[in-house]
Symmetry: C2
């Protein structure tokens, strides 16, 4: 689809067609397309849990303000932002380094610099913003990729972070920045007009 | 441009054509298109400072690890994530409410619920993740919208957060999640092959 049309037609839909399935193939294509977004030093500190079974979606709904779309959407993703995604012992860090070295983008003697730079930029107080920012790039990619594949989605904040962490035994290195319901809009419902957006003048606080 | 092609062709470029300008018109179109991304309760807690003048880009470069692309790109954006973007006295919050009420999406008597919900979800310890996540959606929108308009970009983390805040007298309610260089790729340079991406198996930690 044309990008402009896709941006205009992507909406956070509240009603999912209970009969509208999402195949494994579609979900994999959606993830592969979304993965093309950039990330800090290519560290891709994003993971996710995929929920399809009614029982597990009900478990999530219980800790997510009882939102009906969680059980109505065929697929719900729990996005995970890895706050340790910059650490030397993180498996992705090793793969990122290996790939850069193999392609000749970095020389073996630069490894210390690379590990030091990411630790300085993303460690300590910076780890939450690092993990959330990059996972949000990926999340935005997922929402757009869904639309490209003829699917609809809805990003959700209405959940207890502690409740979700506990219910799904999520390791403590992960922060849950959002849930994402994915499916097909229930065409028997009316899609509301798009909401107001800030203008250029309201966004730009200074031009130098 | 087709979305898939756009995702494939959007790259974080390191070299900008010093002669490749970005018009005000292009920047405004880019921002308007990017603004179609979703945000938490439509709160759009994103702002930015636009840098075009060589003197001001040099001021930024000084606090951003002396990165040449800051002065080479015709436009550099300092993205600002508003950590107070959920507060009742925030001007955007008032406009979001007004717009929803006007469209009939919310009834006047629901205002207390709305203000309470956003304060509970995004206040206190949650304000950084709220501001950064949503501003990252917008940032991702900007990078894709730039490509749609024939422009290139590069998101940057290599800067002193304190240095940028001080140099540009940025109010303390803002967190700076990224800088974004915008311009046109210098065609005399070679674009490196795209880096490695995590596979579906490396992203999904559990399927239920």
């Amino acid at each position: 689809m044309e990008f402009r049309k896709l941006m205009e037609e992507r909406r956070s839909v509240n009603y999912f067609d209970p009969a509208g399935q999402v195949s494994d193939e579609e979900l994999k294509k959606m993830v592969a397309l979304a993965s093309l977004v950039p990330s800090s030093f290519n560290l891709q500190p994003w993971n996710m849990i995929v929920l399809r079974s009614p029982i597990d979606k009900a478990r999530l709904r219980k800790v997510a303000m009882d939102q009906p779309k969680i059980t109505e959407a065929p697929v719900v993703l729990i996005l995970l932002a890895d706050e340790e995604g910059y650490k030397e012992n993180n498996p992705t860090v090793g793969k990122v380094w290996e790939s850069m070295e193999k392609k000749g983008y970095m020389k073996p003697e630069q490894k210390g610099w690379f590990l030091g730079a990411i630790s300085k930029l993303y460690g300590g107080d910076n780890s939450l913003a690092f993990a959330v920012k990059n996972t949000a790039f990926f999340g935005m990619g997922l929402m757009l990729a869904a639309k490209e594949l003829g699917l609809d989605s809805h990003p959700m904040d209405g959940f207890s972070r502690e409740g979700v962490m506990k219910e799904f035994s999520i390791p403590a290195n992960f922060f849950v920045p959002m849930l994402l319901a994915v499916g097909r809009f229930d065409q028997s419902k009316k899609l509301l007009e798009r909401n107001w957006r800030k203008s250029y003048r309201e966004i730009v606080i200074s031009e130098l």
